[in-house]
Point group: C2
Chain length 376, copies 2
């Protein structure tokens, strides 16, 4: 772990009226967590929820920082991995919150990647009908996406994230030093979500990523900037549509395909992690848009080339193992939350940074497209 | 069941901006449910959640009304009783919603008393991160209290309603004919919540209740009026403070004591049902207010006399069985959601219809008061 001197963190505001909050981004923030938490929630006690991997690497430092600030805190450690996003573990977190007699004004601190953030955020949203939540995301994916915006949830046998609540955090602390402990594959997977913001509606950011990819992977100022720009992009969309009644759906670029792929791969991280599914899903969304005559082939090629340059997959065939039949994929897509009254809603694009919500995609056109992808 | 000709129902608006909705109150509404649901949520499908008792008496009529209006609906029947408000049954409802592939625009119809309303409301609040909810309350308690205002939840081993969400319904249909099938004891228990609105801040309504109690119990226009006035009272408080950050706490008059009594009685309905706990709790809140020199003894006596005239209990000793020790009660009160930073928050009163939120009640004064009550 690099010992970066503490500079003033970058501050991104998520503007949601009475539910507004700050995202702080920068190196060394873990050591300052107590001070920031005490400033946001004076007098609060805390339950830190983490997984065994993250807790083993970083919990001592976080708990010491909380203790230095006079915050009474305890730690609950769960198994790592997507299967932790279950009712069983949700009940375990809720029971612990209540057994510790934490009150509404106290805080649940979600200390980990997307799984821990989604699960503990959900627990914080339902214990005593809503307690304070502090997100301390430790993966790139969680820092740029899942910790911001208030979506929480668990998986169901019917699909991913099908059960949950909207529950905004009171504060997000994104320590960019912590990302040094991620594997290359985990970092790449998070990077897919960074690229997503460029592809949705920020072509300038996409071009900046094309020039700065190597520097972002290396760490330092470019990484902080990439996280901050991603959080600004997400904050802008969330502020305009907190509960996904409209344009927030743009954030699902690549996700309807991605969730279907993850489901067929049985959420087995040896085969496919979320960011990889999103990467393939974004490439599919671009190629599908080309096929529908909406997007120039050149733009789709450039999006795909950037994802490949980052070491990310862009084709279904790159996923190890089988099961990827047309019927399996169509079935998963039909069960996606983004379906409305039987019509398929997809995020499609008219070019780099020109994504839009397509509310009435023809199932036949989709079937033809997927059949060709599976044969390619 | 009386076959009342359908008159225009009384309409009470709950004003919550984009989450505003109507409560319709009147005889014969069950037969009109399909028409009202279709008007509120055009094109929606429905899952009706009920308990065995209510479903046995009334489900045919509700399902026929939905079918006549062209609404595709299925029925999920759960065991009656407070123990149904558990994670196990919550999961069962959520799984059924997802297995039926209901979408966000479809509706969960909570068809029963407070248990069914709280449980299915919670399920509707978390399935797909929030689906539409229609409340069709069948007990007096649910019609005047639990179906209105968006509080949903289940119980935990640590206490009642400690897990849940705020999730407002899209519509409440209160058929006052259905109350004819309640036992006298169930009706009385719901009546305690009616009296509560008078005691909080509507002394005129309390006096009207003193004059019309027998007519309300008999049914007809006075009953519709009592339900409507109660819903108006609750709607006004909820509109001012949706998430209980302030004055909504007034609705907890009698509830901190009541919940403690229910907990010690192990939620055994043979010993104590919720409304009876609230009745004793309100009497205790009034006597405690007298003891603290806040409330004239005459007003407390009049409140208690009205509850007794309705056949409701007002003293801890009236609850069958034992366990009501000072320590047991103080422990339950300390675990109540209304505790904030260790200080006890109680709803106390300065006289009939003059309740207020007391945020710093001395635990010593409470202990002395309860000791005398237990000895009395």
């Amino acid at each position: 772990m690099s010992q970066t001197p503490v500079a003033a963190p970058v501050r991104v505001r998520v503007d949601l009226g009475p539910r507004s909050y700050d995202i702080l981004i920068g190196p060394g923030l873990l050591g300052e967590a107590g001070r920031h938490l005490a400033a946001a929630l004076p007098g609060a006690r805390a339950l830190v929820v983490s997984d065994e991997t993250v807790a083993g690497l970083h919990a001592d430092r976080l708990l010491a920082a909380l203790s230095e600030a006079g915050i009474a805190a305890s730690l609950l450690t769960l198994p790592p991995g997507e299967t932790t996003k279950s009712f069983d573990h949700l009940i375990a977190v809720v029971d612990r919150i209540l057994a510790e007699r934490l009150e509404r004004g106290d805080a649940v601190v979600a200390f980990g990647g997307g799984v821990i953030g989604d699960l503990s955020g959900f627990a914080a949203g339902i214990a005593r009908r809503g307690m304070h939540l502090i997100q301390v995301p430790t993966s790139l994916l969680a820092q740029v996406d899942s910790s911001v915006g208030g979506k929480t949830g668990i998986n169901s046998p019917c699909g991913k994230n099908l059960v949950g609540v909207f529950h905004q955090p009171a504060l997000v602390l994104a320590d960019t030093d912590v990302l040094d402990t991620l594997s290359e594959r985990e970092f790449r997977a998070g990077y897919a979500e960074v690229v997503k913001y460029g592809l949705i509606d920020r072509p300038d950011f996409f071009e900046w990523l094309e020039r700065n990819r190597a520097a972002i992977f290396a760490g330092g100022a470019a990484r902080v900037e990439a996280v901050a720009q991603s959080c600004r992009a997400k904050a802008a969309v969330v502020a305009g549509d907190e509960r996904e009644d409209g344009d927030r759906a743009l954030l699902n670029l690549g996700h309807t395909f991605g969730h279907a792929l993850e489901s067929v791969a049985r959420y087995d991280p040896a085969r496919l992690v979320h960011g990889e599914g999103v990467s393939i899903g974004m490439a599919l969304a671009h190629r599908f848009s080309v096929r529908l005559g909406l997007c120039p082939g050149q733009d789709a090629g450039r999006a795909e080339a950037h994802l490949r340059a980052a070491g990310l997959p862009t084709r279904i065939q790159e996923i190890p193992g089988d099961g990827f039949t047309l019927d399996a994929l169509m079935d998963r897509i039909a069960q996606d939350k983004k379906v409305s009254r039987g019509a398929l809603t997809f995020i499609l694009t008219r070019g780099l940074g020109q994504a839009f919500v397509a509310r009435d995609v023809s199932p036949d056109a989709l079937r033809d497209f997927l059949l060709d992808e599976l044969r390619a």
